[in-house]
Symmetry: C2
Subunit: 194 residues, 2 copies
Amino acid sequence: MTRTERADAARNRRAVLDATERLLAEGGGDHVSLDRVAALAGVGKGTVFRRFGSRAGLLQALLEERSRELKEAIMTGPPPLGPGVPARERLTAFLDALGAIAEGNAVLLSAHEQACAEDKYADPSYRFWHRHLSELLAEARPGLDTEFAAHAVLAVFDGDLIRHVTPPGDPRYFTRSVQRMVAVLLGDQEDVRT
Amino acid sequence: MTRTERADAARNRRAVLDATERLLAEGGGDHVSLDRVAALAGVGKGTVFRRFGSRAGLLQALLEERSRELKEAIMTGPPPLGPGVPARERLTAFLDALGAIAEGNAVLLSAHEQACAEDKYADPSYRFWHRHLSELLAEARPGLDTEFAAHAVLAVFDGDLIRHVTPPGDPRYFTRSVQRMVAVLLGDQEDVRT
DNA sequence: AGCATATGCGGACCGGCAGTCCGTATCGTG
DNA sequence: CACGATACGGACTGCCGGTCCGCATATGCT
């Protein structure tokens, strides 16, 4: 058996992901039907399904591609994303990075949420963020129900919400707000005001 | 012109809502197709659409029915839901009541979120909860970005999340957790531990 | 009661969707 | 070059949300 992905398969994989991205950018989440993706990528519909399994799988793959770097930086990279500094510091760095990804991919995020529905919490990516966040919170503020708190913080990373609250000309408003809220949760009493 | 809804119309309205409820209960959100609803209610499909406009409208109507009482209690009822006591007290009562509704209608909540997608934040019900919450937070903890905080708290009221975290035999775990988190947000330093 | 008409009804119909299937083409290997 | 493994394409299926319009009926008026 062949160990490596066949060349044409790899080429198509990329083409499909790129096409998905283009469609997402040009017309919102509903615009991305798998027929359209296949057509734009110049492949058959069957190919899309063989590679990605389902609409949800496709979006998930794209999302994972966008966050792979962050995942690796957290696990094996240098501080403050990687291990080696106090949890508070890592938390800030983590939220900043995740926020940036979310802000830059809000439409993709929405589409993914819609496609996954309730399976969202079984998604490996979600599990990873949740676990990481939960551990950092536990270290930064022992005694909190960190499992729940982590879910709560992640619940705010909702594509639709991000688009709804992000004012024109301040693309990082969302991340700042999340940081501030988490700071309050962690018990920073110092100046919460804008 | 007739001022009141025609009798058969009212009857059908109820039948459709009841059918929706039954389908939701017996088979999850995806189980509720409008064909099925119409069939179970014993009416034509057109009727469903004339009354409710769309799938989203139908679910929204059902949700509103479930929360009308709370809305009224908040606006004109006696404390602690209604006005007349400190914000902290009203906040606790509000979260308790909203939590109860959410816990009791998690499936409906999920279905509604899915159907509404990004229009969720324009929904009158959402606007009402958000406004109320925002005002209470502002009163209870001046200086916080209460607009954002209110969105963040409401983001946790996600049907899928509720189902995911609710352990068997402890139907109110979710509400308790939310209360505790909000308490921390508001600066209660006293015993956060379980 | 009987009529006129606004109002509501049903279900055939439409375009489009996610997902399946299998005969065919292509790749990589020896 | 030949051959088996692998991947491809796109017709096909079943269903969905939503529309439309000829028909039925409740209601208000006389």
